[in-house]
Symmetry: none
Subunit: 211 residues, 4 copies
DNA sequence: TATGAATGAGTATTCATTCAT
DNA sequence: CATGAATGAATACTCATTCAT
């Protein structure tokens, strides 16, 4: 929930901003990014005017929420690298443990319009690049360890990761099992060679720009 | 694109109906289920009044599109069972090959509002039940064959299936590889036992009602 | 429910026409003259196309209904004169007894738009003129009899009559009593002279054209 | 044109509200309660959004106008009691003099739909009850004075009153004469006994709930 | 001729955004 | 600065009327 901006805000203004981001995040997750601005202001306990003073239009708010969440996800990736013993553990943690962060990207999936809004924002691009580079570090580490099959690329993993970033039919346990199944497919010495060639970090970044 | 209704429509009316469903499906996929009704009518080449004569409000249209697509998915499952040699092949085909059908379920994911619209419709419920029962047949067949690990349930597979029903970062090849990774995790004699207990057909149906 | 038109219709066409008029009369009374044309067609048991073949637009239908009812009211006035022993009795009957006919004019009161529609129609004008002339005959008769105070004009009576042409708070008995009270005020040798001068037949006709 | 609500509005908002009520009252009287909302907003000199902020739909506006007018009618009844020397005079004033107020109730008569909208509103019900109780006070006073025939009830008078609450063929003078005729029928020592039994306050209230 | 499908102008209503208090 | 009132463009939906079957 950090400001991510150059200028510091007065304490109360910062509190308002945080409440708005929190309310918007929740509303976007529950009701989609088209949710009425006035309702978001109400949930945040501020007037609609205050919301607009901080975020000049809906796009700005969506961007801010996305920046906030992507930044947190990058932080989580750094923490996973720092705190886990092996790269495999870091990978498992990143794909599986960060419940809240997992919600992050759902934002970008809720509506086609939102995708366009988010896509080009410089700060978001930087966070995304950070995340992918951190993931790349983990992936190569795990392949060096011999725990991750060598024919997958960082992009493959990222794809699997984004697949998990949705409400499935719902239950947490289900996603946990799905993750296990996927990780079983990722372990070194798997059954079948993968089709196509490894999707690397750069492939993924390129594809995000084009899509 | 079949009518799915009791009464036959006049030939031209049926054609209009089909065009509307087709246009709406496309518009919903491209732009989300909030896309302006007038634009959908225009894409279908009919007047706005014609659209509303057939579908009294947006919900009715969303429901009709969903019915159409879920029905086609059930048909595809039946075809997979009938035409593939092994249950494993049927599973691979169902998870991976039905490009168009895969788009089906994306509809239910585009917005929380859409989910509510679709959730209780009797015909959709029936299609969904059919799909799950057909999948159950495939899963048990594959386990009998010894090609599918015995500790996964139909629900586990369904979760994986829905995970694929999204635009990932985009590319088809990426999803193909992701599927391969998943299928590797599904083959008999995997590395690790799965956490929790097998998610069966009934678990899934129950969870869909509660969520 | 007579045709009131030059050309005879085929038997089934006439039946359709009558059903439409009946349905429209009922719908207008129950729901107002803005009631959807399609619903009126349905009530009449015909297709919307048939309704429009007979009545090219809503105005035509409203006019036809009004013609039908005003014509019946003129008939009733003639019958009252022919069948009642005294002019006073004819007056009482006309103001009070013609339950169905009383509903006639409510049509002209339901909406300002309807009033304009009806106002200038030649056939309606003729019916209205007939009604007023018949009423004039009754009024002068009653004054000659000495049963009606001499300082009221035909227009005064007509005003009282139209006042009754509404659903009051509802009950029939209430309107009957109201009529009695009014008639008590109309009897010869009343308490107070009326303000203004007698409103005659011509005054009323003139005022209808101007309003 | 008073607010009739708990919370005070900002001065400018109150002014807008009053203008809207005034414009709507006029438009409803001239053109009926189906008159386009946008036109009403224009007449009030506000944007359509402002109208909808204050009155969330047409029903709310109709209700507000009715509340406003019925309230004013109750006030007029109170003033008549307070300011007139005799109950008879109060009755005459109430039935005859309140030009503007007389228009009040026309609102409830314009369309069947409007009637439903208004019928159950608690504030309107209270105003209506107030009006009837005040009228009851006047009626009993006039009967005690000996100026009003004893065989009429408050309900009879109310029925006469509502009969006047319409545009007759139009002219003011006509209605004045009609009122005189009615009042002549109401004076003590009339010619004929009334049919049925006196319609009392409670009869009327009951009939309003049932109709 | 009867039918009901198609059309699109007309209205109600919502909600993003601006602006006065 | 915070607030919430005002605005009007965008959109959903209705229904009179026309036209193909």
């Amino acid at each position: 929930m950090s400001t991510e901006q150059g200028m510091r805000l007065r304490a109360d203004a910062q509190r308002n901003r945080d409440q708005i981001i929190a309310a918007a995040t929740q509303a976007f997750l529950d009701e989609g990014t088209e949710h009425p601005m006035e309702e978001i202001a109400r949930l945040a306990g501020v007037g609609i005017g205050t919301l607009y003073r901080r975020f000049p239009d809906r796009e700005a708010l969506v961007r801010a929420v996305a920046q906030d969440n992507f930044g947190a996800l990058a932080d989580e990736a750094r923490a996973a690298i720092a705190e886990e013993d092996t790269s495999w553990d870091a990978l498992v943690r990143l794909l599986g443990r960060s419940r809240v962060l997992r919600l992050s990207l759902r934002l970008s999936l809720l509506s086609p319009a939102t995708w366009h809004t988010i896509h080009d924002d410089p700060l978001i691009v930087r966070h995304r690049t950070d995340i992918l580079e951190l993931l790349d570090e983990i992936v190569r580490g795990a392949q060096t360890e011999g725990t991750l099959r060598p024919d997958v690329g960082t992009g493959d993993i990222a794809v699997l990761g984004t697949l998990l970033l949705r409400q499935g039919p719902g239950k947490e346990e289900m996603l946990t099992r799905a993750l296990s199944l996927m990780l079983d497919g990722l372990r070194a010495s798997p059954g079948t060679p993968l089709p196509g060639r490894s999707i690397g970090l750069q492939d993924l970044i390129t594809s995000m720009q084009k899509t």
